[in-house]
Symmetry: D3
Subunit: 286 residues, 6 copies
Amino acid sequence: MKAAPQLPPASAWMPLVARALEEDVGTGDVTTNAVVPIDARGTALVMARRPLVTCGLGVAEAVFAAVDPSLAVARAWNEGEAREGDQPLLRVAGPLRSILVAERTVLNFLARLCGIATFTRRFAQAVEGTGCVVVDTRKTLPGWRVLDKYATAVGGAESHRMGLFDMVLVKDNHIAAAGGVAAAIAAVRANAPAHLRVQVEVESEADAEAALAAGAEWLLLDNRSLDELRDLAKRFGDRAVLEASGGVTLESVRAVAQTGVHRVSIGALTHSAPGVDVALDVVGPA
Amino acid sequence: MKAAPQLPPASAWMPLVARALEEDVGTGDVTTNAVVPIDARGTALVMARRPLVTCGLGVAEAVFAAVDPSLAVARAWNEGEAREGDQPLLRVAGPLRSILVAERTVLNFLARLCGIATFTRRFAQAVEGTGCVVVDTRKTLPGWRVLDKYATAVGGAESHRMGLFDMVLVKDNHIAAAGGVAAAIAAVRANAPAHLRVQVEVESEADAEAALAAGAEWLLLDNRSLDELRDLAKRFGDRAVLEASGGVTLESVRAVAQTGVHRVSIGALTHSAPGVDVALDVVGPA
Amino acid sequence: MKAAPQLPPASAWMPLVARALEEDVGTGDVTTNAVVPIDARGTALVMARRPLVTCGLGVAEAVFAAVDPSLAVARAWNEGEAREGDQPLLRVAGPLRSILVAERTVLNFLARLCGIATFTRRFAQAVEGTGCVVVDTRKTLPGWRVLDKYATAVGGAESHRMGLFDMVLVKDNHIAAAGGVAAAIAAVRANAPAHLRVQVEVESEADAEAALAAGAEWLLLDNRSLDELRDLAKRFGDRAVLEASGGVTLESVRAVAQTGVHRVSIGALTHSAPGVDVALDVVGPA
Amino acid sequence: MKAAPQLPPASAWMPLVARALEEDVGTGDVTTNAVVPIDARGTALVMARRPLVTCGLGVAEAVFAAVDPSLAVARAWNEGEAREGDQPLLRVAGPLRSILVAERTVLNFLARLCGIATFTRRFAQAVEGTGCVVVDTRKTLPGWRVLDKYATAVGGAESHRMGLFDMVLVKDNHIAAAGGVAAAIAAVRANAPAHLRVQVEVESEADAEAALAAGAEWLLLDNRSLDELRDLAKRFGDRAVLEASGGVTLESVRAVAQTGVHRVSIGALTHSAPGVDVALDVVGPA
Amino acid sequence: MKAAPQLPPASAWMPLVARALEEDVGTGDVTTNAVVPIDARGTALVMARRPLVTCGLGVAEAVFAAVDPSLAVARAWNEGEAREGDQPLLRVAGPLRSILVAERTVLNFLARLCGIATFTRRFAQAVEGTGCVVVDTRKTLPGWRVLDKYATAVGGAESHRMGLFDMVLVKDNHIAAAGGVAAAIAAVRANAPAHLRVQVEVESEADAEAALAAGAEWLLLDNRSLDELRDLAKRFGDRAVLEASGGVTLESVRAVAQTGVHRVSIGALTHSAPGVDVALDVVGPA
Amino acid sequence: MKAAPQLPPASAWMPLVARALEEDVGTGDVTTNAVVPIDARGTALVMARRPLVTCGLGVAEAVFAAVDPSLAVARAWNEGEAREGDQPLLRVAGPLRSILVAERTVLNFLARLCGIATFTRRFAQAVEGTGCVVVDTRKTLPGWRVLDKYATAVGGAESHRMGLFDMVLVKDNHIAAAGGVAAAIAAVRANAPAHLRVQVEVESEADAEAALAAGAEWLLLDNRSLDELRDLAKRFGDRAVLEASGGVTLESVRAVAQTGVHRVSIGALTHSAPGVDVALDVVGPA
C-alpha cells in the first residue's frame, strides 16, 4: 500500500521561499502599508478556480508563516486530493496586511505545484492497469528540483534520480568517450560507488546485450518506435528494467506503456505542466 | 530607438545558478567521473532544436563558468535574435567532464528563458501597429522574478512593476479595506512615497471617475468585454493610462489591443510559456 | 490622515542584526561568562539620556530576541514619540547574562535610528505650514538603506526612491551621455519601464522646458539660489513637481521651502545625523 | 616605527559591500540602462571636495570590481594621506554604465571611512607629545565594526577591544552582579581565558586598589574630572594602564591627555564622525 | 583500471574553507600585521613530518588562494601518493603575511585529510588479494562528509552511501516499525524510488532469506563472528552482496575479508583516523 | 570557584548543524519515508556505550529541534559529568521519522564532543595538584573551532587564543622576519593593539631575556627537555607565564607539569581525541 509522499525537509526549499518573498515584497508593500490600517484583520480563502490536484499546501503554509507567524492557516483539502473547481484549498486569518503581502507568493507556488501534480495525475491515470509506471526527469526548473519532484510524486509518478549523484546513467556522450558500451560499464564498475544502480542508454539490440553482459541493470530506450519497444521488451524485459523516453505525450503514453516496458519517463511533467488557476479571496474580518 | 534589455546584475541571479548546480550536481557526477578520463577534452554545441528567440546566453555562460572557469564559451547567436531550429546557440570547449556536468543545468535555464522570450515575441508581434503594448505581471515563478521579466523584455514586452515595492497598485481588497476608491487613493497620497506611480483597479465608470479625481494616474481594467474596453478607452483614454488584463490569449490579444487601451498585461507570458527544445551535442575534442 | 510608518519586513534588516551580534559577541562575552552567574536574572531599562524621537524599538526587540528568546521586552514609549531625556524607552527582563550580551548592540542601533528620527523631525518641523515636504536621499550608510529611510519616515520626512531601481532620475552624467535633456528623456520613454516616474535634474530654464516637453514629470533643482528657486517655482510649479537640493541646513530649510518648491531633499538626514545618547541601566533582579 | 594599518581581510567586509550594492542597485539601474548606450565607456574621478584623510580606497576598489571586474581603478592618493580638497582620490575607467551604477555606493563608503579617519586624525594630533594615546570604542555602527575600527587606526587612534570576546572588561554591572570589585576579578581569574588582558572600571581609589590587588591590569576611569584623573594618575599611573573615558571632545582631549593617563577612549570617533564630501566626476571617455 | 578519485565540486567544500578561515583569522592576524613588513615576500614548504598518503592538495591550494590569490602554489607530490616523511607536499611563494595567515588552516585541513587517507590505505592493503573491499560509513565529522569520503577514496576504500538520500538501507529500527523484514522491504518497493539500491540489515538466516525473497539486493551483517560470516557467505554469497560491519580493526580486517563477504565497512576510517604531522617551513624569500 | 563553561552563542555553531543535516539528510531519508508510517511516534535514548564525559548536549538538542521542533528532548546527564558506560545521555520522544532522520547527525556530534571532553579530562586529572594547567591549541578541525574549544573547556583545559586575532603570539617565522626577538617585540608594541597580551616563542635563555626586556608577558617553550624546562622555570618562572608545548602525551604530561611551568599546551586534545561510542536506541512509542 502506497504511502503519501513526504514533503522534503524544509531546509531544502525554505531558501526558495525566502528568496521568493524578497523578490516580491522587497522593502515593503507600498500599497498595503498606505491603504490598509495596521490593525485591520481579515479572513481569506485560497481558491481553486478549476479542477486540480492539490499540492504544496505545506509550502503555502510556510510562506504565510514567513510573512507573519501570527497568521492562522487551516487546510480545507488534503494534499494530493483531486477536486472540482471553485473550492477553497486553505483558509487564512489574521492581520490583513500580512495576508495581502503573502498573497502573490503563495499563489505563485501553488499554481506551479498543483499544476505539476494535476498534469502528472493525468499521465498516471492514462497508464493505470498496464503495469508500467510514469517517472519524472531532471528537466525541472533550476532551483525547484526537490519541489518539482515532490509534485510529480503527489501526482502519481515515480521519482527518477534526483541528480547526477544518486544513480549511474551512462548516456551516449559517456559511451563515446569510453569507446563503447562495454568499456563504459567496465569503467563504471571499476570506479563508481557500487551502491548506486547502473542504467545505460542503448541504441541497438547489440548494445543492449553488451550492456547487460557488462553488468548494467537498467536500460534506457530513447526515441524508439512502438514496434521497437515491443521487440526490446520481449527480448530483454525479464532481464532488465526497461525505460522508454522521448517525446511521450498524454495521447501516446498508454500505447508506450502497453509495449511491455516497465517505466516511461516524461520531461514534460516538469518542463511543460501548465500553471493552474488559483486565487485568494478576502471573505471577511478575522 | 529601443535599446536591448540589459541582463540584470549577476548578484540578482547567481544565487539561483549556484543552487541549480547544487541540486543537480551535488557531491559529484558519478557517471562522468567513472567513465570520462580526467584529461579528456571536448567541444560541444548548445543547439536549438526548433525555432526560438534566444534568451539567457549570459546565464548559460555563467553556469559553464561556475562549473569550470577554464571552459571557453562563444555565442553563435545574439541575445534576442529569432532563428530557425537546428542551429547552435553556443559553442563550448574544454574539459569534457566539465561540459557534461554543466549540460543539464544550462539546458534547463535556456529552455525556460528562450521559452518565455519566444512565447512573448508572438504576443508582441500580434499587437504590432496597434499602439498598445504587451506587459508582463508578477505571476512569475518563485525565485525567478528578475530572469522571468528579463525574458519578457527580450521577447518584446514591457515590464510591469517588479514587486510590491516599486509602484502603487490599488486592487479590490485595498479598496474594500479603505472603504471606497476615493478613500483608498487619499490614503495612498497621504502615506505612500510620492515618487511611485499610482494605478487603480476599477470596476465601473463611476469608480474610474472617482479614481482620477482622487489622483490616480493609471487604471487597471480587469476581465472586461471588448465593448466595455472600447467605451472606457473612449471616455478615459486621454486622461489616464489604461491597462486591460484577464485571460488574454494569443487569439484574443490583438482585439484587446485594438480597443484603444494602452497596455495589455498577460500572466501567461511567465506562468504558461512552454519550455523550448534545446540540447547539447558533443561534436569533437576541444 | 497620515499612517504611522511600517517597519520594513524583518527579512530586510535581520541580516544586519545577525551581523552586528556576530561582530560584537563573536565566540562569547568572556567577561560576563566569567563573572555573572549563569542563573542570575535582571531587569534593565534602555534610557534616553537626552530628548529624542524614538525610533527602532522593533529592531531593539529583535536584537534582544536574537540573543535570548526568553527575554521579556516591553515598550515604555511608542515608536515616533518625542519625549524629554532621562526616560526609559524599553524595559527588558530575564537572564542577566543575555541582557549584558545584547546591551551594546541594542544601544548602537537605537543611537543611530533615534538619531536620524530626531534630526529629521527638526527639519520637518522647520517647514511646517509651507506646503513643502522634506525628503531623504540615497546618501545612507551602506547596509542601512531600509533602516535609515524608515528612520527618516518616523522623523517626518518623505522617502525618496529606495535605490536605482524604483524611479528614473536623469542626472547630469546621463544627460551628457545621451547628448542633451531631450534625447535623454526620449531614451527613458523608449526603454525604461513605464510604471516608473521620471525625474530630471535641470540646469537651466531651457532645460526645464525641454524636459517637460519630452515627458519628464518631476524636476530636480540642485544648488540653486533662493531667487532662482522662486523664479523656477513661479514658472514651472504648476506643471511639474519641483525638488530643491544641495547643502540645505536646518538654518536654511524654511527659506528654501518658502520659495514655492514642493520638495526639498537633504542628504544630511542620513549622512550627518548625530547619534543620540542612550544607555542601559540594570535596575534590579528579573 | 609604526606600520600602516592593514585593511582587514575582505571576508570580514565584502558581505557589507555585497549588501550595499543589493540595496542600491537591486534589479538594475533603470535610468542608466535606458539612457547610456551599452558600449559607452568613460573615465571618472572620485574627488575629495574638502580637506580629508583618505581611508577606504581598498573598499572602494572592491565596490567597483564587484559591479564590473573590467573597470580599471588607480589610486591618486595613498591610504592615510591628508590632503587639501578638490583633489582626486581615485581614477576609474571602463564601461560608463558600470561606473554610474557603482557611484553612490562607492561614495557612501568613502564618505564614512574618510570621515572617521579625518575626525580621528584631529584627536590624534591634539594629543601629540603628551604620551597619551587616543583609542576607539565599541560604539561603532552595527555591521561596520571592522571597517570603523580600521578607519580610526588610519586616523591615528589605537584600537580598543574588537568585541566582547578579545579582552575582559569588568564594568559596573559586572561588579554589582559579582558583589564587588575583588569578587568580580577573582571570578575572572578563575573562569576567563588567561590569555586575555583584564581591565576594570573603577569608581574610587579604594576600588582601584582592590582591583589591582586582585589582579587587574588596566583601569578604566569613566567620567572623572581633570583633578580626579591627575590624582589617580599620580597614585596608580606606574602600577597599571589608566584609561580615561566619557564625553571627551576635541576641545577637552588635550587636557585629559595631560593628566597623566595613558589612554583616552572616545566613542564619538565612530558614533559622531561627520561624513566628508566626496563626489564622482565623469571626465571623459575611457 | 581504476581512475583517480575526483575532488568533489568546490561548491561542496568551499563554505568549509571560508568558515575555517573566518574562525582562525577573524578580523586579522594581529601578530603578523604588527611584525612582518607589508611588502615582505617568502617561500615556504608544507612538509610531511612522517610517512603519509597525500590527500587534500586541492583543498590546501584553495585555502592559500582564498587568503591571497597572488600566492603561487606548486605540488611536490601527487594526490594519493605514499611517501616517506620529511618531504615537501607543497611549495608556496608570495607575500609572507599571506603565507603566515593561511598556515594553520592549511595544516589543519591536510592533517585530517592525509590522516584519513593514510589510515584507510592500511586497511585497503590489509585486504589485498581477498576480493573483499573496504568501505566507509556515515560516521564522518559533521560538515566534512564529502571531504571525509573523498579521503577514504584516495586511501583506497570504496564509498558507501553519501547520506540518507542515495540508497535504501533498512536497519533494525525500520524493521521494528514495519513489523518485520518482509513488510519493511515491501514498503520500500511500494514507496521508495526504484532507482535506489536496497540493502537490509539482517539478524538471522531466516531474515536473510525473507529479505532476499522480498527483493533486497544487499545484506548488512552487523557484529557477527567470523564463523557466522563464513556460514552466511557460503549460503548467500552468490545471491546478494554481503557487507560485514562492526568493530573491525586493522588487526581483524583481513580475517573478516577472508570469510567470503564482499565488503567490510569500517566507521573508524573517519571517526578515528589520527591526524598526521604536517608543518609549514619558511625557507626563503619569494 | 570555577563556573561551568558556557556553550558559545548558537550563531557560532548553528551553521555547522545546518550543514551537517544537509549533507546527511539532503532531499530526504528515503528509507524512513518508505517504511515508517508518517504518524508513528517513538521514544529513544541516546546511550553512552562506554565511560565518558558528557559534552555537547545543547548541540544535540539543537539538531533534534532543527529536524523537528516538536521532538521533546530531556537530559539524563548534566553537561560535563563523567559517568560509566551503558547509560542514557538524552531521552527524545516524538515523531519516529524525525528521530531516525536526526540520529546519525546527533551521534556524530556527540562522538566528537564527548570524545574531546573525555580525552581532555584525563590530561586535566593527570596534572592535578601541580599548579600547572592544561591548555588547548589552534589545531582544531576546520569549521569546529568554537565547539572543539568548548569541549576542551568542559574537559577541564583552559582555552588558549581563539584565533589569530585575540592574542599576539610571536613565533619563529615572525622573529626571523623582524630580524630578532627584540625587534619583533618592538614592532608588536608599536603596531599591535595594546589590549592584547603578548606571548613569544623563545629558543634560548638569551632570547627569553631579550623578550622580557622588550616587553613580552608570556613565553612559549616548544620541544624542550624536562631539564631545560626546569632551568627555564627556575630562572623566568616568576617574571613571566611559561608555557611548554610539543609532543606532550598522557604519559609525559605530569612530568612536564612538575617542571614549574605554568601551562602546558597540547594539540592532541583536538587533533587526536578518539571519538567515543554513542548510539541511539528506540525504546518504545512516544
